[in-house]
Amino acid sequence: MNVSLFVPCYVDQLAPDVAWATLRVLERAGCQVHYDPEQGCCGQPFLNRGATREARRLARRHLERFAGADAIVAPSASCVATVRHRFTALGVGEGALAQTARTYELGEFLVRVLGTTQLGARFPYRVAVLQSCHGLRELGLGTPSEQVGESATHSPTDLLLRAVEDLALVAADRPDECCGFGGAFSVTHPTLSGRMGLARLRAFADAGAEYVTGTDVSCLLHLDGIRRREGFGPRAIHLAEILANGAVGGAQ
């Protein structure tokens, strides 16, 4: 399958390893991976700040750059949620509904489109999952804890991690409480953002996690920044990096 790699702007700048890992995992899953180095930002940071005009311009350019792609895959649930669910309200998605619908978060694509969890990865650590709020509630990548009823949705992240050799999943208290990143919220409301992040970090540490993983690099960078400041808790690692880890200790 032909896949266009969507590398969110902050992943490009701050976490190139995550983009490489995504590329490797997709190739390992049998995909032909295309990368367009002229791609930009999907507009999420601007949209969330209320800067609609700038967001619209970026969204339009994003759609142009990825026009015609068979599948668009990103290692970021929140960017995918923006493309899939917020472009229409910006007035740019209507003519491109098929394209936005073909935009997937990495784990979602592997499990729900390719139908695979077996990627030959090994990661001999205790790992907790930091749920991406947008992945969970807007992309439906799992069942939010507040949801009532029997229609439980499996989390692609969980399914993939369960298939990783020697990886032990640990469950933290309040499984999907927000980490407090929230884009601009992290700098406009540092006290609250820090309080929320510290609470998550403590919950992961109490659960005995050695690593915390997730589908949003932004949330992970925030949490890891708190870990380095506070000097305790599990290290952050993106889902793609765990899945790309084929050999012992390769993530170190």
Binding site: A15, G50, R137, T191, L192, R229
Partner: protein, 477 residues
Amino acid sequence: MTTSFDERALATLPSRGELAQHDAAVWDLRRRRDAAAAEVPDWEALRERAAALKAFALDHLDELLVGFEQRARGAGAHVHWASDATALCRIVTELLAARGARRVVKSKSMLTEECGLNPHLAARGIEVVDTDLGERIVQLAGEPPSHLIVPAIHKTRREIGALFHRQMGTPEREDDPERLTRHARSDLRRRFLAADAGITGANFAVADTGSIVIVTNEGNADLGSSLPPLHVACLGIEKVVPALADLPVFLRLLARSATGQPISAYTSVLTGPRSGGELHIVLVDNGRSELLANPTHRSALACIRCGACLNTCPVYRRAGGHAYGTVIPGPIGSVLGPALGGKQGAELPHASTLCGSCSAVCPVKIDLHGQLLAWRGERHKPAHRERLLTRAAAIALRWPALRGAARALLRPLWPLLARRSPRNPAEPWLAVRELPPLPLQSFRAQWRAKRAASGASDSGPVSKPAGRPARSERNEP
């Protein structure tokens, strides 16, 4: 760039202990809600039904209100219309003055809080006693409520004990909740019996019967509406529902969503005045018509004030209700804030991470986080510096080559940005966490270097790097 909301959160819950206690107390309500909702086999269908009923009611508000007025009058109630807070205060003051009422018992009503009725009456020498225990506590403390359902949830029992000791002469250091409640109860009972009038809110107004419905856990609204000769019920025009037969849908959702109870302790359907008494119903607009005309935000009027969005909100739990500076705190308060005025209007929609849990618990399915996002766009008035930054960033993120140039400029400054100083523009990030390390090159630059090395051209869309490049710099502390 620190907003005053963040500062108010720090002032409201300053210590680790207070923060933990508030978070735990509020989270407990969310937990109870989860358990109670899970007991209902068709919870999601019930939410759908409630949302549809509210949407219908808002679409037909004009007819339903007129129908309600006719039937309420037919049942012997007087109906008044108040266009705004001033009108409500005037109408209530006149009703009380005409009957020489000086002592008023009041049950919980967020609407009268919104309209500033208590201070208005107090300034005219009328004694107003809040009779909901939580409301009474914050009234004695001289504070506004901090939660829709649990107005004094920000107070510890020790604080309440000290407050009661000062204000009601309870024994010093008495902080047993049951004994304190008993003291408050006997104090309130005296006031109920001596009251000239009772003021209540209402949870619903029923169009096909002209009834008002009041839900409490303490029975205080029942005493307040039946002991004094005059009962004034104040409610927003959005409270009307089409039919008495619709009520069970909302009653099954309301208490479960609020506190996890299957039903509130007291649910009173009042149709007309009690025998020998007078019932005046004041229907208040105060900005609601304007909100109704707003297609994006009108559904916020469907709110039944259960407080579930507050309980699940990770920001509310760690900020405390007073940080919002509005009568209604939490996600619904931040949605209503920009519409129903208030100084914090433009700021509140940003006091959220848009995690979406609020929308997922809302019993009438208001897209709360979607509305917060919409308000951000509608009220976008950035300061000069932010506007410049936004524009520059938008251009750089559109054009990767510019981004590369910006990165080259920024790279030598990164260690300085990581250092704490009041003049450092990265300080809001550094306030609670370290800056992430900046890798030597962006993915794009690494990828292009790789391509160049393998002799492939950059223009073609297909990439198949032979392997991973040398491990990029990713410093760990």
